[in-house]
């Protein structure tokens, strides 16, 4: 294992709980300095357990990991000094104000006394909480709590930031604000960000690279584009104006791709080629005098990637009702 001063290296990490349940089952990871690494998976996949181990709050059962060049088991204090973390559920004291939190966190993190007030104020300003700094946190919205949580994780200038589902439960505007701040931290301040999420869009928008975890194992990894390219081709869904034309449409589309699951009253195929086929498909349908009610092209998404790798949909976490590709 090499030593990345601002990165994360994980080899065969395992965490087993009572009853032999393996929440994390031998994962390998390499997070490069300065990148945003998305760790994507449904509830219970092992994301938070991985974060707890990498942040030294949970000893691994087996395997090894180095965070900021330090072994997570043997050099816990050095790891904690190099990292900041906003764990799942903003862990705040509702009876304290935002400024009280800053005071406590800067003191406990060993920020020099003369710098504490300025550092706290600057971070509160940065996350847009300057006006609410003297209000008790119990009165904050979910988004405000998340932003304060993020600010608290930054008081000691960490080189690596762990964000465990930082936008879960937030409204779209708060989520967008959080994305902007995380992107700024990585791209302007050079902070390495390890971000767990169950939101595909979040991983797609923010992450430079992604690992998908399911049932404790990494099932795919790469850049979002690489992962989408792996399952590759777009799908086309066509809905005829008359239900009686469904078989005819299916017959035409079968010439261009493999049938996949579609909405009721529509037919869908995974195209064999690229979107360049579209004019030809339209001409073929037109040649059959079929009137269309709807015509949709679906680019591959990370959800498609997850479905292809695990046989389940990510959002909702339920097993897919049908396999993606059905026999022609």
């Amino acid at each position: 294992m090499t030593q990345l001063p601002n990165g994360i290296e994980v080899e065969g990490l395992v965490r087993e709980f009572k009853g032999g349940i393996r929440a994390v089952d031998g994962i390998d990871l390499r997070v490069e300095p300065g990148e945003i690494y998305g760790f994507l998976g449904p509830n219970g996949a092992g994301k938070s357990t991985t974060v707890l181990m990498l942040t030294t709050l949970l000893p691994p059962t087996a395997g090894s990991a180095r965070v900021a060049g330090h072994d997570i088991v043997k050099e816990g204090p050095a790891v904690r000094q190099a990292i900041g973390a906003a764990l799942q559920e903003a862990a705040l004291d509702g009876l304290l104000t935002g400024r009280d939190h800053m005071r406590l966190q800067t003191a406990l993190q060993g920020v020099p006394k003369a710098e504490r007030r300025a550092r706290g104020d600057a971070l509160l300003e940065r996350v847009g909480l300057a006006d609410a700094a003297d209000r008790k946190v119990a009165g904050y919205s979910g988004g405000m709590k998340r932003r304060l949580d993020l600010a608290l994780a930054l008081v000691h200038h960490p080189r690596i930031l762990f964000l465990d589902e930082p936008t879960t439960g937030l409204d779209p505007q708060s989520r967008s604000d959080m994305w902007q701040e995380v992107a700024r931290l990585a791209h302007e301040d050079g902070v390495t960000v390890f971000l767990t999420t169950q939101y595909l869009e979040e991983a797609d928008v923010l992450a430079d690279r992604i690992a998908i975890i399911d049932q404790g194992r990494i099932v795919a990894r790469g850049t979002p584009d690489e992962l989408k390219a792996e399952i590759g081709r777009p799908s086309l869904e066509v809905e005829p104006a008359e239900a009686g034309s469904l078989d005819e449409v299916a017959g035409v589309l079968a010439r261009f791709g493999l049938p996949v699951t579609a909405r009721p009253g529509a037919v869908a195929v995974r195209l064999r080629g690229s979107v360049d086929q579209l004019p030809e498909i339209v001409r073929a349908i037109d040649a059959e005098d079929i009137v269309l009610a709807d015509f949709r092209l679906h680019a591959p998404t990370l959800d498609d990637v997850f479905l292809a790798k695990t046989g389940r949909k990510l959002e909702g976490g339920e097993p897919a009702a049908e396999p993606e590709v059905v026999p022609a």
Binding site: L57, R80, G84, A91, L92, L95, L96, A107, Q109
Partner: protein, 255 residues
């Protein structure tokens, strides 16, 4: 380390002061109870062998113990809340030492307990309480009150940390209250007529904590009563804090 302790103590005091429900009952409730008991049981001071001229002098020791029970609940509930909310994990991520968390937290609870004890004392003097222990007795009674508060707060902290549940801490409160009622709270042990009650009160350590505080008010400096009270308070405090420290080690796991 000292700075960490002070910051944690400050947080503990703020937590209490910002919850009126945690400030008013520990001060008002024991005084109301004392007023009711004094009104209803004043005739008991006429019993042969009753150690005080007025029932007030006898009863005013009880609020000190009741205030300590509230300190127990405050300490335990706050730590349980930290476990439940994940705040404990936030603390674990910092270089803070475990001892700083516990000492700071209990220190904050002690400050509130000290303020309550001062109020009980002031109210006592205001309504004509005797105080044969003299001026030196004031810091001594406050010290004992603080030790008793630390003893119960340590137990509360243990329950809060071990269970991680505010409800569990609240559940222990009645148990401690039963111990208080089955003590020499209302009558001197020799005057308790029911054998079983006198037996329990004799083996109930709370009796000796009350009698230690009471001795400053009724007899002045009673070496035996004070030795028993300080000794028992120290033993419970050491045991409670040690148990809480052990529970904290389990809660504040980090490599």
């Amino acid at each position: 380390m000292i700075e960490q302790i002070l910051e944690m103590a400050r947080r503990s005091v703020l937590q209490t002061l910002r919850q009126p429900a945690l400030v008013i009952p520990p001060v008002i409730f024991p005084l109301v109870m004392m007023a009711i008991n004094t009104g209803g049981l004043d005739a008991a001071s006429n019993l042969p062998g009753f150690p005080a001229d007025s029932y007030l002098d006898f009863a005013i020791a009880v609020p000190f113990i009741q205030g300590s029970l509230f300190a127990c609940v405050n300490a335990g509930s706050a730590l349980a809340r930290d476990v439940e909310s994940g705040f404990m994990k936030r603390l674990a991520m910092t270089p803070m030492q475990r001892a700083a968390l516990l000492v700071g937290h209990l220190g904050g609870v002690m400050l509130v307990a000290l303020a309550s004890a001062v109020i009980y004392l002031v109210v006592g003097f205001a309504v004509g309480m005797d105080f044969p222990a003299g001026a030196l007795g004031v810091p001594a009674i406050l010290l004992l009150a603080l030790l008793v508060a630390l003893a119960f707060a340590g137990l509360g902290a243990f329950v809060g940390l071990r269970s991680g549940s505010g409800e569990a801490v609240q559940g222990f409160f009645p148990l401690f209250f039963v111990l208080l009622f089955l003590s020499s709270m209302s009558l001197p042990r020799p005057l308790i007529e029911q054998d079983w009650f006198r037996f329990i009160a004799t083996y109930n350590p709370v009796s000796y904590l009350i009698e230690g505080i009471r001795s400053f008010i009724i007899t002045g400096w009673d070496a035996e009563a004070l030795a028993l009270a300080f000794g028992i308070a120290i033993v419970i405090a050491v045991g409670g804090v040690a148990a809480a420290a052990s529970a904290l080690r389990t809660r504040l796991v980090r490599t």
